[in-house]
Amino acid sequence: MSRSRRSLLENLERLKSWEGFLLVLLLVIIIGNSLNSPAYLSVNNWMNLFQLSIEKVIVALVMAFIIINAEIDLSVASMMGLSACTLGWFHEQGVPIGLAFLIGLMVGVLGGAFNGFWIAVVGLPSLVVTLAMLIGYRGLARVLLEDRSIGNFPNWFDALGQKSLIGPFPLALILFFAFVVIAIIILHYSGFGRYVYVIGNNREVARYSGVKVRRVKMSLFIASGTIAALAGLLFAARLGAVRGDVGLGFELDIITIVLLGGVSIFGGSGSLYGVLLSILIVLNLRNGMSLANITGHVQTGVIGVLLILSVLVPNMVSRAQDILNRHRLSRLQTASE
């Protein structure tokens, strides 16, 4: 009994220690940045820091659900491109921008449902399905706009993406904060969130317990498609123009953020608190490096190293713990003999 109590504590510590580690890392980055550049702590810079990647971090919130559910969605960035291009194409045809926006959002719902159908109903691996759709949705986006760039959206639409709406906050940032709260409630305090974890841990246990596994997976992919489409539309509003390559390659940044946040790529574990910390780390690190005039390529390299560490460190910790436990166990056994 005392053994299991100790291992419970160990486990809690391990969980805490990852998020604790992220928190310390974030503080170090913030302190480093503010020592390095006086501009860093200004409200403007903070708005800017969020604005530059706001679409990615919104999608990262849904991606956390998907990966905890032991699936992956590689098609999110292509969906961002497709929804943005749909908006552009309908705008070009003279459709009012509000309607074009809704159509773009519908494309996301349908695209997500399409992914979900193959994954949840047919049972194909999500890696394969969404890889195909990464190509498929991007292809559709390029077919729609070819190599044109569509701009000239109404002023109020551009303003939604670029100007602040409430206080210093632009629309996308307000949406992000709202989504963070909603996502935390759903994942950590609702029955649906519990199902997401159980299925991610062991799909068969869930099925044998009467959980509607297909329905949960279907909902997740529809949500993923819809939020990705919304992010694409926000991106269009922020840039004031759309092209076939909107969001190209964003999926990797998004997955990086989620994994760095401590979500296991095998599913079943991780939390949105970790993902939130990871978002702040990546954004502040990039911002700080920009302020220090470090080039984008080096920035990407640094984030890559961080990701490798995020996979290596917990692995090494748990392996070390296993070895320790085995030693302790064998000592116990020899003692009892």
Binding site: S4, R5, Y195, N201, E204, R207, Y208, S269
Partner: protein, 515 residues
């Protein structure tokens, strides 16, 4: 018991090639082997029989170097040896073939035969390999294209490849662990022809079998294990099937919690003509409220498949399930749960519990809807209270219900799994091997609980490979063998002998008393 037969070797046989002397092996609670001595002679087929868990597999694993014995010694041609792993066993000329042949489907027959040869140079000599493979197969009188990939071979042909593999390694001792379990009658005949040809070449064969008639047909000597002990070892000429069964089943029942006389309530579930392809056929039985219906049978009897069909996770192809007077077509666990059917799996780790999650989350899982507000949020306080309630009721030993279940012992995990399903308040509870791998104390608690539940009017289906347990706990016992129902025994008629007789396929006695 009958050990004097052992010291009287048949005159034409030389000295034994393998001797196991007073081997003992213990795993935690269970004494898997207890002072077992066994001899294998060249050119002899030695059959090893026993109930599930009698120690047959442990014995094989000791010979093949998977387990090291705690006590006792192994002698090869009179010299003591220590076998540490299967490579060493192979070097001594010991090979084992299992129920499922382990061939590589994408490699050719010849490549499979020579897969464990370590003497190849850097360059493959295909020509020589094909010729050698053909020579071996010719020696066995097996006609197979050695260039053909192993994929698509019948099970019998795959086993022939495994035997050829053993011969290519100059095998002197061949262990066959239930090699006939998935073969058709015709394929069994072919396999036996191969085995006899090996015998005539002087190979010593240890044959583990579940079908008694086959064992008696092929063997020269029959050894019975029970509870890790050697019960008898007799030359084939001196044994009858009745004797073997009696030796297999003589286990003690007295430390079991026997089921009290409960009156059988009204009909709860009635199953007629249930079929599922490749699993079971024509299963018929009734379960009443307050009744424990035991499902007995050996490994491979497909009892679990029937349980899964009733629970809807692997629905049957045809047949009728009448539950509380209405015909039901159960196609998912969710549907079964709504009707009031719960299934406690034998596979805690893969199907039963989300191991890295807390006791609380596991117990509330099937009935999570009860713990949600109208907005779908968790009532974590209620969840906690339920978990605490079961922790006391089933005395789950844990510092807290927030502990992850993989931190608990097997017996306590079993109790968490039972709590999870009891909390769904089922009318019919299907228990699949509920006491496997748990200690004696936890076992008694589970037996006690089964009794209580039956007294409360639940219908219970108890699937168990532990024969004394089924006998002690059940009101009636359904015996299955290889997907077929061999009979239903009333409590008074059920003895270890006639259950085992039915489970091993000597079915005449059972058929007469089927209702």
């Amino acid at each position: 018991m009958d050990n004097n037969a052992q010291q009287k070797p048949s005159p034409q046989l030389k000295k034994p090639i393998l001797e196991m002397r007073r081997i003992s092996k213990r795993f935690d609670m269970t004494q898997a082997l207890d002072d077992v001595s066994l001899e294998l002679n060249p050119g002899e087929i030695h059959a090893l029989v026993g109930e599930n868990g009698a120690g047959k597999s442990t014995l094989i694993k000791v010979v093949t170097g998977v387990h090291r014995p705690d006590q006792g010694e192994i002698l090869l041609e009179g010299k003591p040896v220590h076998i540490h792993n299967s490579q060493e066993a192979q070097a001594y000329g010991i090979a084992a073939i299992y129920q499922e042949p382990m061939v590589y489907p994408d490699l050719s027959v010849a490549e499979n035969i020579f897969i464990s040869h370590r003497d190849r140079g850097p360059v493959m000599r295909w020509r020589k390999m094909y010729d050698d493979a053909e020579a071996i197969l010719a020696k066995l009188d097996v006609k197979l294209d050695v260039r053909q990939p192993a994929r698509g071979l019948t099970l019998a042909a795959q086993q022939a490849v495994e035997i050829a593999k053993a011969i290519s390694l100059q095998v002197r001792i061949l262990i066959m662990d239930e090699p006939t379990a998935s073969l058709s009658a015709h394929e069994v005949t072919q396999l036996f022809r191969l085995v006899r040809s090996l015998r005539s070449q002087g190979v010593a064969i240890l044959f583990i079998g579940h079908r008694l008639e086959e064992v008696l047909e092929i063997s020269d000597r029959v050894t019975v294990l029970r509870d890790g002990k050697l019960i008898s070892s007799r030359p084939r000429g001196e044994v009858t099937s009745e004797q073997v069964i009696r030796d297999m089943v003589g286990r003690q029942i007295d430390d079991f919690f026997a089921k009290g006389e409960a009156e059988r309530g009204e009909m709860l579930m009635s199953v007629r003509g249930l079929n599922k392809e490749f699993a079971f056929s024509d299963i018929n039985f009734d379960v009443n409220r307050g009744e424990v219906l035991g499902f007995a049978g050996l490994i491979g009897s497909r009892r679990t498949d029937v349980g899964l069909a009733l629970f809807g996770v692997e629905p049957p192809d045809s047949g009728e399930i009448i539950f509380e007077g209405k015909e039901q077509d159960i196609r998912s666990a969710e549907q079964a749960l709504q009707l009031g059917i719960a299934y406690v799996t034998e596979d805690r780790r893969l199907l039963g519990l989300a191991m890295p999650m807390s006791i609380i989350s596991n117990i509330s899982l099937p009935t999570l809807r009860k713990y949600l507000t109208r907005l779908g949020l968790l009532k974590q306080g209620d969840e906690f209270d339920t978990a605490e309630e079961y922790r006391h009721r089933l005395s789950i030993r844990t510092p807290s219900v927030r502990v992850e279940v993989d931190k608990l012992s097997g017996g306590n995990q079993q109790k968490v799994m039972l709590s999870k399903w009891l909390n769904a308040q089922p009318k019919l509870l299907i228990l699949d091997e509920p006491t496997r791998g748990i200690d004696v104390g936890a076992k008694a608690e589970v037996h006690h609980m089964i009794n209580d539940l039956a007294a409360q009017g639940l219908g219970i289906i108890l699937i168990s490979s532990d024969l004394p347990e089924v006998l002690a706990m059940s009101d009636r016992i359904l015996v299955m063998r290889e997907g077929k129902q061999m009979g239903v025994f009333e409590r008074e008629e059920a003895t270890q002998e006639n259950i085992m007789t039915a489970a091993m396929g000597q079915n005449q006695a059972a058929l007469e008393i089927q209702p």
